[in-house]
């Protein structure tokens, strides 16, 4: 029976979709059977990140009762399976997202992990995704507005009976004024599954002729490595933090990181 985990944040632009795609692929690389679902029925873009935008049957069709769920499952990179959401605005207005839970339950026994990419906000579509998953993984940035929205999402998820298992901090730049990993964990009262540094390789992945998530295109980049660690933690595999981005910096690397930061 699959662990159904929704990746949510409350705030838009925190990198939920990118993280969903990358940790899904990383889990598949670790030998797990993974299904990714674009549960953002209004603003779907997981298919764009996976480079699979031309899928004829989508979650919209399944939610409308016009197609079977198996017809909307596609093969993605590195052996993952993927259910895209439609881009049609007409269908978006017609779909009943409350049916998502039943659809996920009907295929739960075929996977090890089902990851749902939720929309931003706490509107009906997000509630459907939160309620369809037994577990919620929050994504935030190390800033107070993003953490405030993650907090609200945590409260809503708990109200709907989803267990909030942890938080991923994205776009970490080690800047003065950023909320630290330990403070983040303390505010949200959750363990930190990963602290993903800002890495231009993630952005570059969308700009290639063939779009591929960074864990496939540049698996040795700092963000890809951290996302792979998140996947391993999710799979219950112990991960050492040594040797990663957060390893103790020497004086010289501290000074060069200050200059790099100013360049951004």
């Amino acid at each position: 029976m699959a662990r159904v985990i929704v990746i949510a944040s409350g705030k838009g632009g925190t990198g939920k979709t990118t993280i969903t795609a990358n940790i899904g692929i990383a889990l598949a690389k670790a030998g797990k059977k993974v299904l990714l679902v674009d549960a953002d029925v209004a603003m779907a873009n997981l298919s764009l990140i996976l480079g699979m935008q031309s899928s004829p049957i989508t979650l919209h069709d399944v939610l409308l009762g016009e197609s079977q769920v198996h017809d909307a499952i596609y093969d993605g990179p590195n052996g993952i399976h993927f259910i895209p959401s439609g881009l049609s605005l007409d269908n978006y207005k017609r779909v009943d997202s409350e049916r998502l839970g039943g659809i996920i339950a009907s295929i739960q026994d075929q996977y090890d992990y089902i990851l749902l990419d939720a929309a931003a906000g706490i509107e009906k579509n997000v509630l459907s995704a939160l309620s369809a998953a037994q577990e919620t993984l929050l994504v935030t940035m190390p800033t107070s507005p993003a953490i405030a929205d993650a907090l609200k999402t945590k409260i809503v998820a708990q109200r709907l009976g989803s267990k909030v298992i942890g938080v991923i901090i994205n776009f970490v730049m080690d800047e003065k004024g950023e909320i630290s990993k330990s403070e983040c964990s303390s505010i949200l009262e959750l363990p930190v599954y990963g602290s993903i540094p800002y890495d231009s390789e993630v952005r570059k992945s969308f700009m290639q002729q063939r779009v591929l998530p960074v864990v496939v295109r540049k698996p040795d980049s700092i963000a890809a490595k951290e996302m792979q660690k998140v996947a391993l933690r999710l799979a219950g595999i112990q991960v050492s933090d040594k040797g990663g981005q957060k390893a103790k910096k020497g004086f010289f690397s501290k000074v060069t990181s200050i200059f790099r930061r100013n360049k951004k």
């Binding site: 945590k154 800047e175 909320i179 200050i258 200059f259 930061r261």
Partner: protein, 157 residues
């Protein structure tokens, strides 16, 4: 001149324009979460109040399909219970696959939801989605199961 330049470089390198003032924000966020920390007690009545707060509703009544009230968060709940059950039964007879009924009133929403052969009558300032009504009904059902004895005692009294 040199001094001014050195100061400018130093402030740039040390990010002096960024005034770190996160402590008050962290305190604010921690305080916000603590207000939403719903810890259930041993007291059934108190837990009904906690459920109201958690699910953002004003009141709820749980009835059997014959209109008899099982639990109410506001007094006997008799009139809401009877009206809600009658209304839901009528709608069910016309539209048998109905799961929920939502009525907009001047002073808020009156919502009916059915689960495990019980009708959940909910009053709230804003409408709840089917998912939210189900979540409330599920949590109430668990609470009622855990407190069968005290519900019986309340009825006897």
């Amino acid at each position: 001149m040199f001094r001014r330049m050195a100061k400018k470089v130093a402030s740039k390198v040390l990010d002096e324009d960024v005034k770190s003032n996160t402590n008050s924000q962290i305190d604010f966020l921690k305080d916000f979460l603590s207000k939403h920390n719903y810890v259930f007690s041993q007291d059934f009545e108190e837990n009904l109040g906690i459920l109201k707060k958690k699910h953002l509703v004003d009141d709820f009544v749980v009835t059997n399909f014959d209109g008899s009230v099982i639990v109410s968060s506001n007094g006997s709940g008799q009139s809401d219970g009877i009206m809600g059950t009658a209304m839901f039964s009528y709608i069910k007879s016309e539209l048998p696959d109905s799961e929920a009924v939502l009525i907009k009133r001047e002073e808020g929403w009156f919502m009916l939801f059915t689960l495990n052969k019980k009708v959940f009558v909910v009053r709230a300032g804003s409408d709840l989605s089917g998912i939210e009504l189900r979540a409330l009904a599920l949590e109430l059902s668990i609470l009622m199961d855990e407190n069968k004895e005290s519900i019986k005692e309340r009825k006897v009294a």
